[in-house]
Symmetry: C2
Subunit: 229 residues, 2 copies
């Protein structure tokens, strides 16, 4: 039976943008596991209630249901040990938390209004309400002053940049889970926001190009908003 | 022939405090390699001129001379493959750069005047001059407002904290080069500054305690200034 992956989608079913879903897509591709993408919207809580979670990704593999992206990665690594993701290396978790605590928030405070515009119209009220409660201010105010923040974001990427100056991937000579986790954060921005986050001369940009082309261009073919006004 | 390690020392020969030297000490201990510590001061350039470097650490292993801490680690990993440091894992380099670009600077802007007070008296002029040129301001001004900066530093440690909440070491179940590199940054502060950098309830504190005790308490026995007014 084909693995099923519930993924957050925008108005169009194939317009997937969640960084937590992208890392699963990439992990499945890495392991050569075909999957069926089941588009899901934030307000369709009942559709995934069987999983016990209110959020995607939700992975269904035969009788097994797994939620939470890191748990899904760990499940895939254990269940399908070929083409290892490198998840058992302790540092992969550090890269994960750096992504979730530095990269994601650094993007969020620039692109969250663009994300609002991207989500399915029926999700917009829910998205605005939950995020404005979290941020304590309107989305428009929270995502203001993009120029200054973009410089700060690029500065905060320095450890990633220096690493990719010295080696082809975070995983070393070939990509692993660390690459997919960081890249998925950048896919979140690419798929939701016109903002050009990376300069072309940035080694991170060159690395991202390689991952956009990986797996027969899976990520490059996906609908995106980057660079489109 | 015993490995020799030129290490930066304060007024007392055994008061070693350089984060780049500490990581080599710990790597040598990890591999069970005895070494002779050769105390060195910043102004003793001629003493290490044979190495082609003006900075320590400098490692001498028989006929082999290696400079630059990361190159020394790579040399040790290749020459003494038993008890691997995990240096070949791509992510180790990311942890290294995060340490050098986030952790070290976050400490530096709080403790640099304490470091000035720690270095050998004959190094103080050189230290002040080179650092003030780098920072563009007097050491006293550069290291002001410690209270605010300490909060920012602790916030910036979030990816490390979250990782150590989930697993015993950055390397996973046992420490590896990533642990030593980060820990050595904290040893720099401990050995030079009265500032108490970590709260006792912080998971990073508990992890640091384990590494202070490792290798028969090698790090704990070293002279330090933390908590001493």
């Amino acid at each position: 039976m084909t693995i099923q992956l519930y993924e957050l989608a925008a108005a169009e079913d194939d317009h997937v943008f969640s960084p937590y879903c992208w890392r699963i897509r990439l992990a499945l591709a890495h392991k050569g596991l075909p999957f069926e993408s089941l588009p899901w919207r934030m307000t369709e809580k009942e559709k995934i209630s069987f999983s016990g979670s209110e959020l995607v990704p939700v992975l269904v593999d035969g009788d097994t249901v797994v939620t939470e992206s890191w748990d899904i990665l760990a499940y895939l690594e254990e269940r399908y040990p070929e083409a290892p993701l490198g998840l058992t290396q302790g540092e992969a978790r550090f890269v994960r938390y750096w992504t979730e605590l530095v990269l994601h928030p650094g993007l969020s405070r620039m692109i969250v209004f663009d994300v609002f515009e991207t989500v399915h119209p029926k999700d917009q009220g829910y998205f605005r309400e939950t995020r404005e409660r979290r941020f304590g201010q309107p989305l428009e105010a929270f995502s203001a002053e993009t120029d200054r923040k973009l410089q700060e974001f690029r500065n905060a990427m320095a450890p990633l940049r220096k690493t990719l100056e010295a080696q082809p991937f975070l995983g070393g000579d070939t990509p692993n889970v660390s690459d997919y986790v960081v890249f998925s954060g950048l896919m979140w921005a690419r798929c939701t926001s016109p903002l050009v986050v990376l300069e072309e001369a940035d080694p991170i940009h060159a690395w991202r190009e390689k991952l956009l082309d990986a797996f027969d261009g899976m990520a490059r073919k996906a609908p995106f908003r980057e660079g489109k006004i």
